[in-house]
């Protein structure tokens, strides 16, 4: 594709994106809530608007968001993966064992990514080839992956990581911009292009809106499902590299409960659990929003478990409100 061709394609897509639905898109709403939260945080804590604080807050979402991006594709395609935190734990344990055997940083990263992709392929095989419903299949593999990690780990803590390995989770590219944040931004770009500008993305929407019709239209459902699971596994492996590197250790409780936070991000981002609807910018905004909301609550000394209430309520309200709105609108028209 020539450069002007690509640019005009992007412009057309953007125009369609903004004029396609109503003006008050979900992403606009999320953006407004995000701005409101930032203002609130700044009012509550005088330390919030410090560049270092803001940079620190991004670690609250970068790793989870990296898993949320392929998870969004999965949910748009009517599947789900609840085993992502299990994959993360297993990848981390495999890397920890590798580090104990004296492997270098590149080998460790490769090991983590490979483990993630392999776990994803196992999920993909279960769902795409053996036709197990994905929520059931991944509930099983969630216990399996997490269990194997716990079994191998026992009561130990793995922390013999080489010094250069710590850069991935603790390194900064320029000033206060962390490597994780750059990686997140790049991935958001790549996933946006994939979903919103390519034929593959269009086919994914087709698959999610009506699998039967998509199959007749020549979409290879099995292949799509399989590779989406591999991508989610790979992203979990990547998150394992970042988180392990940031924490500097692997414990049995690593990333406990992350699957629900990741799925919350995706749903909050406007992806419909019925499939076929949702955007990557929406998911990215939701990830940033959740990250800053929880960070702000933390600044206000609110314990994690109480934050959980707020995030849970946010999820229900945010998904429920538009439905109520639509209902009222329909009633008014009648």
């Amino acid at each position: 594709m020539t450069a002007p061709g690509a640019i005009s394609k992007v412009c057309t897509a953007l125009k369609a994106y903004w004029t396609g639905g109503t003006w008050l898109r979900w992403e606009v709403f999320l953006g407004a809530v995000l701005v409101a939260d930032l203002v609130l945080n700044a009012v509550v804590s005088p330390y919030f608007l410090d560049p270092l604080t803001l940079s620190d807050a991004t670690f609250n979402f970068t790793e989870k968001a990296l898993i949320a991006l392929p998870m969004a594709l999965l949910i748009i395609g009517r599947e789900i993966d609840v085993s992502v935190a299990g994959i993360l734990a297993l990848s981390s344990v495999v890397m920890g064992l590798g580090a104990e055997h004296g492997l270098g940083t590149p080998a460790l990263v490769g090991l983590g990514l490979t483990t993630g992709a392999a776990c994803g392929a196992a999920n993909g095989a279960l769902v795409a080839l053996l036709r197990v419903p994905s929520i059931v299949a991944t509930i099983g593999t969630m216990s399996l992956f997490r269990g194997v990690a716990a079994g191998v780990l026992g009561d130990r803590v793995l922390k013999n990581y080489p010094a250069s390995f710590h850069w991935f989770g603790q390194g900064y590219v320029i000033g206060v911009i962390s490597f994780e944040l750059v990686l997140f931004t790049v991935c958001v770009g790549l996933f946006s292009i994939y979903l919103h500008l390519t034929l593959f993305g269009r086919r994914l929407y087709a698959l999610g809106s009506n699998p039967e019709a998509a199959r007749f239209a020549g979409v290879r459902l099995t292949r799509y499902r399989f590779w989406l699971f591999v991508a989610t596994g790979l992203a979990s492996g990547l998150a394992a590299v970042l988180l392990t590197s940031r924490l500097g250790s692997t414990r049995p409780s690593i990333a406990q409960g992350w699957e629900l936070e990741v799925i919350s991000m995706v749903i909050l981002g406007g992806v419909s659990v019925a499939g076929g609807r949702g955007t990557i910018p929406g998911v990215a905004l939701a990830a940033v929003l959740l990250g800053f909301v929880t960070y702000g609550l933390g600044l206000a000394n609110i314990p994690g478990i109480v934050m959980q209430i707020i995030v849970g309520a946010l999820l229900i309200v945010v998904v429920g409100l538009p439905i109520v709105g639509k209902r009222l609108q329909a009633r008014a028209h009648r």
Binding site: I135, A274, I305
Partner: protein, 338 residues
């Protein structure tokens, strides 16, 4: 009765598998088959059975309840706190109260699913976090330990009737009631209809949303009752009670042949699924499996079980996240007039 046999093929296979597993362990450790060990196995599995029966009602209507374990923790914590503050309060008050609190939480789920038409997985993902957080708010993060509970509060579940604990009797009673409900009542048949084909259900005069709300309320009541039972049996109440148990409950349902797509499954299957997991859980330590590896093994077994189940399932049942609204897509908010 070849037809009946064919219909119960899955239950039959599962029963054979459970018995085979049991026999293998019992051959190596004869004590495993002793009466005492059997009774403790049933007692260990009773809470799983009760919760799985509740979850079954919800899944049959093509919904899912992820908040049951959090509901258990909250209801249990409230009655435990009450018992600590007022040790004289009768169980005749506390047990119904526990079930009512649970029913209230379940109804809240149900109303959101019914009236707002928010997908159940979203609703219960949210309420799971909310209810669990509420336990912390109610208790201030403190524990209620056995020393702070009255003797009668802890005694009821352990009370022996004909050599069997109250808890085990309750699980049996629950299974019988669920069987009766699903087999002989309009409401119960409505659960199957709503889940099996929501579009047809509307034409048959079954309000799908109302059926789902009913199922959630019942599941909530069961979870609430289990809240008291759990806290009394383990003689401790804290924020993380039954944390993650919802997935074991769903696993038991799926192993028992409840289709996650709704409308398919039997009470006998679910009870067998629970017993299978119960035998496995009790056998692993005996077989010398390190506690660290036990999660991995149950994960493996669950995965294998769902593969076998998927091979049995009729094609075209891939609708895990499909909300009932899809069936009524042409007419938003349409529901049969009363």
């Amino acid at each position: 009765m070849p037809t009946a046999l064919r219909r119960a093929r899955r239950e039959f296979g599962l029963a054979t598998l459970t018995l085979a597993l049991f026999a293998v362990v019992a051959l190596r450790f004869p004590d495993f088959a002793s009466g005492r060990s059997l009774l403790s196995l049933v007692d260990d599995t009773a809470l799983l059975v009760l919760l799985a029966l509740g979850e079954t009602l919800v899944i049959l209507t093509r919904a899912i309840d992820l908040s049951m374990a959090a509901n258990v923790a909250f209801s249990g914590m409230i009655v435990a706190l009450l018992n600590r503050a007022h040790p004289d309060l009768s169980l005749w008050v506390l047990v119904p109260l526990s079930a009512s609190i649970g029913a209230l939480l379940g109804t809240f789920n149900g109303l959101l699913v019914w009236l707002l038409e928010v997908p159940s997985i979203v609703v219960t993902l949210g309420t799971m976090a909310i209810y669990r957080g509420a336990v912390y708010l109610a208790s201030g993060g403190t524990w209620v330990t056995s020393g702070q509970m009255s003797a009668s509060f802890q005694g009821l579940v352990r009370h022996l009737l004909l050599g069997v604990t109250t808890l085990s009797w309750l699980a049996l009673l629950g299974a019988l009631l669920a069987w009766w409900l699903l087999r002989f009542t309009n409401a119960g048949r409505g659960f199957y209809v709503a889940g099996n084909n929501p579009a047809a259900a509307v034409y048959a005069g079954v309000d799908v949303g109302r059926a789902q709300a009913r199922a959630f309320a019942l599941a909530g009541a069961i979870a609430g009752l289990c809240g008291y039972l759990w806290v009394a049996r383990f003689a401790v109440a804290y924020t993380d009670v039954a944390n993650g148990f919802e997935l074991q409950v769903i696993a038991a349902c799926v192993i028992g042949g409840i289709s996650i797509g709704g409308g398919v499954g039997t009470v006998a299957g679910v009870v067998l699924g629970c017993l299978f997991l119960g035998v496995l859980k009790n056998a692993l330590p005996l077989l010398g499996v390190s506690p660290f590896w036990q999660t991995a093994l149950s994960g493996l077994v669950i995965t294998v079980a769902v593969i076998i189940n998927a091979r049995d399932a009729t094609p075209g049942r891939r609708r895990i996240l499909e909300p009932r609204t899809l069936a009524q897509a042409g007419t938003p908010g349409a529901r049969p007039s009363p």
